[in-house]
Symmetry: C2
Subunit: 419 residues, 2 copies
């Protein structure tokens, strides 16, 4: 297909599960772009349990990859809300993040090798299952995160891990965002790699969940209901003992003694752990039910998060009074979903149409000022392309464009996206 | 300097600590290449303890980076034998590995951001201290491991970690290499991220150490002296308790019960731990004292290691009777230093001059047949360039050369190296 498109100069848009949030896998309106779906390339080619690796085709859903690992009593740790639909090819093309990055890294760090069809229609077999390989330039790393603009990922060799035998989970009340960040530092020092997830959400986020999915917040102690910020701590350990629960309880007790937290809800069963995560993962749906809203997927140094939020939110509120900041995300990775709901009573669609560009401009300018990224885990695609061009260092943009020209001189793959 | 060289078409060879093993930082014999040393760019620009990151200039030695982290009670985990001389710029340019890769990854995985001078003499400020950043192509990843052929790394932002408060270490006797691999699988399942290092060495390796540094092997139990293979297991934990020692002891006891190991020496003090590591790290020096030898730095899937070694070593011994296989390395990463000492009585230099090319050809052909890499952690440089061209998939070579032409059209940076 790639060779035929190249011969006729027809642009190609690679598409996996079509769950992307930035328009990276969607053709333009000309009707002249070929959508190349990977969905029927969905075989698990090999599980190598001793090497802790798996080789799968690009069209496997993330859930299918997780299941194939689980069948060998192993873990493929990438996990995100759309895992039932999104494909591993798309996860790699966008360098997906999700809920376990703190412990296991993004899709990039979980990938050992790739098979790629180049813009010349050649197949590069780079499916190596090696932990160390310095034989030339890191082509694998270049294709990962390039959102289908440099080549088509058709298969990948991925890292697997021993499955945690114990899990522990707590929802913790914090007075403000700086306290959440301090709690993170303490948790990392205490648990290191046993800390798998560290999520934070402001009260407005959980209020929306309570309004639209009341049962997900039932039975919370008063300290949690009233807390300006909540943190979801998620721990895992390969040792199947009760140590982890005990350690988490002792940690939270010490944090409360030191005045860093206002209270905590410890999950006492797998069902309770799942309920806490379901609450966290329902914020986006609750936002949608509340109405259209302005979304940002940004990353900051953890040390700058609190300053960024207080600085930027104050500016937004002073310029757009009544707007509701819905701030939540993967605090452990410095990754916030920094969203704004229209003022109560305003028509959300009209508010969005009128104010989104100016709000985006302000937020992205502040992200840059605080040393952050305007694209943490959702990518650039079409939605953030102009913002990337505006905010990236000129030397970086020039180099990216030189790479695109060198690898895809016909501009065949996903034209007009990313750069 | 880069702009002046570009204007006059003078090639540049970036050089850090000049400790590389493949000639990547050494000028050719023409006398017309400028060696650009980074050694005076050696400031620690910033330590951000809350963000667990550090920004350093390229000419800092690895040891200086480790010390700057330690001054904040944090860990920069990259560690290798030349850490007193090698520079962090060189470590990144070669994607260095070392002894803690199993737990913390190679130099690539420890790097968050780079500052690079391009072949156009522009400075790209990519010193981001972010855990997630998908704003365009992964330029950082491309420069890492490119051995100074695409640009000059002048500074880097690196990841830091909480320091382990407990360490445990054991030297373990195994009957053969398959048993070492089984022990690795058991250790990963039992300890997960608390397993920091897993080194293996055949009896010929430790015999050389015993001959040239007898005191490093003093007081070993008979089971270790007689063992065909030894494994060095290294554990770390942020919790300052005796749990780790207890867990290791219980693990080794269970392994012995199951017949997987023949005996073990548990280090009971920091001094004993250091002595075990010193023994392991003296193999290379013992090899040098024994005389010139044929060296390979290769990686295999862990599941293929034992087959590769028995297959390849048998072929080498049948073709070169009496040659002594010195096989050791970072088994946990699938990375072997697969070396051969001349037969006893032969002149090592004469043997090397006569047989090295044929031994290399055989070894590299077998590496490829077993799905491995001819360059695990030492890089390509000049020494392995022709082998890379011979063994890399054609599509990969073409893409690498297209990238080199696109980023360095004048062939200014380290010409003739890597590709």
């Amino acid at each position: 297909v790639v060779r035929a498109c190249a011969a006729h100069g027809v642009p190609l848009v690679p598409q996996g599960g079509n769950t992307g949030l930035v328009g990276g896998g969607v053709p333009d309106a000309t009707g002249r772009q070929v959508v190349l779906s990977t969905r029927r390339m969905n075989r698990v080619r090999e599980v190598d349990a001793l090497n802790l690796s798996i080789t799968v085709e690009a069209g496997c859903t993330l859930h299918e990859v997780q299941q194939a690992a689980a069948a060998h009593d192993l873990l493929f740790p990438l996990s995100l809300a759309s895992e039932g639909q999104c494909t591993i090819g798309g996860n790699l093309a966008t360098n997906a993040g999700g809920t376990q990055v703190l412990r296991y890294g993004t899709a990039r760090e979980l990938c050992l090798g790739l098979e790629v069809v180049t813009a010349q229609g050649e197949i590069w077999d780079g499916l190596r299952a090696l932990r160390k390989d310095n034989a030339g330039y890191a082509l694998r790393e270049l294709y990962i995160g390039s959102e289908g603009t440099l080549g088509l990922i058709t298969a990948a060799t991925l890292r697997l891990f021993p499955r945690p035998r114990a899990q522990a989970c707590a929802l913790v009340a914090c007075a403000d965002l700086p306290m959440c960040v301090e709690l993170l530092a303490a948790a990392r020092a205490a648990f290191d790699a046993r800390l798998c997830g560290f999520e934070a959400m402001n009260q407005a986020s959980t209020s929306l969940v309570r309004r639209h999915f009341a049962d997900l917040c039932a039975g919370w102690p008063q300290a949690l209901e009233a807390a300006p910020w909540l943190v979801l701590m998620d721990l895992g350990d390969v040792q199947p003992s009760t140590r982890l629960d005990d350690d988490l309880q002792a940690f939270l007790h010490a944090q409360q003694e030191q005045g860093r937290i206002g209270g905590a809800l410890l999950a006492h069963s797998l069902a309770q752990q799942r309920a806490l995560w379901q609450m966290r993962e329902s914020i986006s749906s609750a936002q949608s039910l509340e109405g259209l809203n302005v979304k940002h997927d940004i990353a900051l140094p953890v040390s700058r998060l609190a300053d960024f939020v207080s600085d930027t939110t104050a500016r937004v509120l002073s310029q757009w009074p009544g707007v509701r900041p819905i701030t939540f995300g993967h605090l452990g990775d410095g990754n916030l979903h920094y969203n704004f709901q229209a003022p109560p009573g305003d028509d959300p669609a009209a508010f969005l149409a009128r104010h989104e560009p100016a709000i985006n401009a302000l937020v992205f300018e502040r992200v840059r000022a605080h040393g952050g990224s305007i694209a943490a885990e959702h990518g650039i695609g079409l939605l953030r392309r102009d913002a990337l061009v505006r905010h990236a260092p000129p030397a970086a943009l020039g180099t990216m464009r030189a790479i695109k020209r060198a690898l895809d001189p016909q501009d065949l793959f996903n034209p007009g996206r990313v750069v």
